[in-house]
Symmetry: C4
Subunit: 252 residues, 4 copies
């Protein structure tokens, strides 16, 4: 097994595609958006990526079969804008793995002559979010300006100084290779999977890409989570004693 | 010293053997089964495997001598079904080590023209188990069906999404090399070494392998643990104050 | 990407420069001094250093753009004394990374025919500092004597036995290559960024280098922190209940 | 810098020397014995060993100078028995480093045609030791018998199953290379540096090596620690409230 194994399932010709990266992270915001796009756009899986920097585990599918922990790239072809969507089960568990895997994604981006990279994630604020906000950061000042037009907020003190993992490194290492790249972070509590924050991010992304994507499924998932939140609030008011651990528990 | 050193103690000719893997893990279920099989079948040690991915330690034997932390492979020849049984002191303590050591086991499996792999373990549920259950996962849909016939349960939400370590990777990496592989996980509390859960796993394995193995020793070990559990319950009822740590203490 | 990538932005001829190292650390003392010197001396950035031993992240600038986590070297030319000033966002997060990055700094020091190395940091004492003190350690007994003349204190029991990270290794690995090197550690609480301690270190450094540097900015930053400390003390007297975590919170 | 750098300071001819290893560990027992022997026998330093597996730090000497974290080997020549004594500032902080550094020690042992290896350490029991006991383990059954004659105890359930670090690996990896090796562990609380336990270990070692070593210094250090322990006991009786942390504090 190589350090990073790229299994190319299919070779497609794409026209200056845009990369959308949504891997697991805070509130699972990025992954929710990427998976929703793959589903709605019927994007096609073209690459599987294995690495010993991923956790040493298999994941059990609903039918009782398993698959090795991996990252995946899906392709979407259209008249408007071709896409390469990166998602996966996990991120690297080693420090250097984040660098190597990001470099591998950039190698693939170069092969496909990618024109721009969007990385997606959540920005945890430690409390329930009142108003949906999408924070941004970019590896190019011009991109900052463009993103502001779509309603992305750039705040001096947020997103808290740093963006960790592939979402950050695609901007940093991407810049060294000349890729314009922007990171969109949906404000989220950090305690719950947050499909509402994912909706906010997706709306802006659709505008930027001039795409239309049905949000029904995310909407329903969001409503389901609302009910979870309501129940949590009621429990709090009823002063049912809970440990701090439960209170902060991460609910999927 | 090489990254993984394979010391071949003996070369045997085996007929399409089946691999049984039982390394240390939750409830020590897998290891208990593997060791019991080695003892009852009088399987012969053919390989010792050392690695700097194992903890940097020696283990002290009852006679005051020591041995370097290692994994081992035992062979069992019979008219019905030849076996290669993997067990050992520890699993890798590094992330990548799990991958490398699993690959080495698969190399050996290829040399011996292995026909199938069974990996064994425990699935901790955080409370005493009322009814013995063996959960399964496989790297092949046909195997899922076959295992159901032996009473293995496949549940959508369990075994909790992932199987960690060599038990999981033999399925995941095994699939990439074309080995059919199944993981059998005995339900267990997770707090105690669990020979009763090991019995449940072994029963199913014997059916699947069409083997008969005396379970007297496991039975006795199970009764001994029952007494420990009884004592714990009495202590609880007597409300002897214990710290949470003691309560959750892992008892061998 | 190489393990450590040295991006040389500019090639300068320097006369037996002295290295000043001020990377992030306790009280951020070293970094405050290095950044202040760069600003006041209008030192010029000549080298950027990237490595997968740095945290896998980008840092967000005030204008919404990002930069990859890095270390930097600035050059200052003057009639009196040329300088190479090392600073950066972070230190290595791996054990070996500290060794490799220090070795790279020493390679560069050799190229520039460096005559001496000063490493700067803070020495945390766990309580507010009453009297500013600068502790020292050197890789050469003669240097110890010289530093005492500038008011550096050498105490048998402090700085607590060891100096961790690049500040320590530049002395240790530097000695193996024949570089005279001294470490200056400003006493600091360890809970707060400490520009006052930075001033104390800078004063001694200026004496040793026979340089004059305006301290207005550090002074103002120090006054600002004084106000923070005053507020903390008041809160303590008012016995506003705080958690231990808040009390020990690291305030920038 | 190489992964492990062996700096040979002096080349000596030794007659089938015995290796004594006493690196930092529980109660610092091993290191206390090794350092005492070096001092009393006026053993000569012949090798320094540096590695990026050691912590990335320098240690400050009493005169204000520093030295890079290292391991050392001292030689002692005599008519009775030549010795190679291994001690040092620290052990590896990486898992594999323990293996590599032990292998390097064994390379050196082979060069010097070493006849036997003694590794020394402490065995922490979590409470004050009433009666000095030295536990043993060996990589050879004959050695177990020999050590029993000197009063070393071999208990089925102790030393708790495993011996971690260089002290353990010299036995395990040593066996693979044919070196007879024994580990002597002085019973100790685990909370305090324990010169009394070191004395007990040294007494047995002297018998085994047929050496006489003055123990005055260890004796004095032991008395000093007794006074610390007395003070701790008094504090306990006076019920001065202390946090659990202080109670278990490791006192040098």
């Amino acid at each position: 097994m190589e350090e990073i194994e790229v299994h190319e399932l299919k070779k497609l010709k794409l026209k200056k595609p845009v990369v959308i990266e949504g891997l697991p992270g805070v509130g699972n915001v990025g992954k929710l958006v990427a998976e929703h796009m793959i589903q709605e756009l019927k994007a096609e899986k073209i690459i599987e990526l294995y690495s010993w920097h991923f956790p040493p585990q298999v994941l059990v599918n609903d039918d009782g079969t398993v698959h090795l922990c991996k990252n995946e790239i899906y392709a979407y072809k259209s008249k408007k804008q071709d896409l390469l969507i990166i998602t996966g089960d996990q991120q690297s568990v080693t420090n250097e793995g984040h660098y190597f895997i990001t470099e591998k994604f950039l190698d693939i981006a170069q092969q496909y002559d990618v024109s721009r990279i969007y990385t997606l994630g959540g920005y945890g604020i430690g409390q329930l979010v009142e108003k949906q906000v999408v924070l941004g950061a970019a590896n190019d000042l011009e991109l900052v300006g463009e993103m502001k037009e779509y309603g992305v907020e750039f705040r001096e003190e947020e997103p808290g100084g740093s963006i960790v993992g592939v979402s950050g490194l695609l901007l940093g290492l991407g810049k060294l290779r000349g890729f314009p790249a922007v990171c969109l972070l949906g404000l989220t509590s950090g305690y719950l999977v947050d499909p509402k924050s994912a909706q906010a991010v997706l709306k802006i992304l659709c505008q930027a890409l001039n795409l239309e994507i049905d949000m029904q499924d995310l909407e329903e998932h969001a409503e389901e989570m609302e009910r979870v939140v309501e129940r949590l609030k009621e429990m709090e008011q009823a002063q049912i004693p809970r440990t701090r651990d439960e209170e902060l528990g991460y609910i999927r």
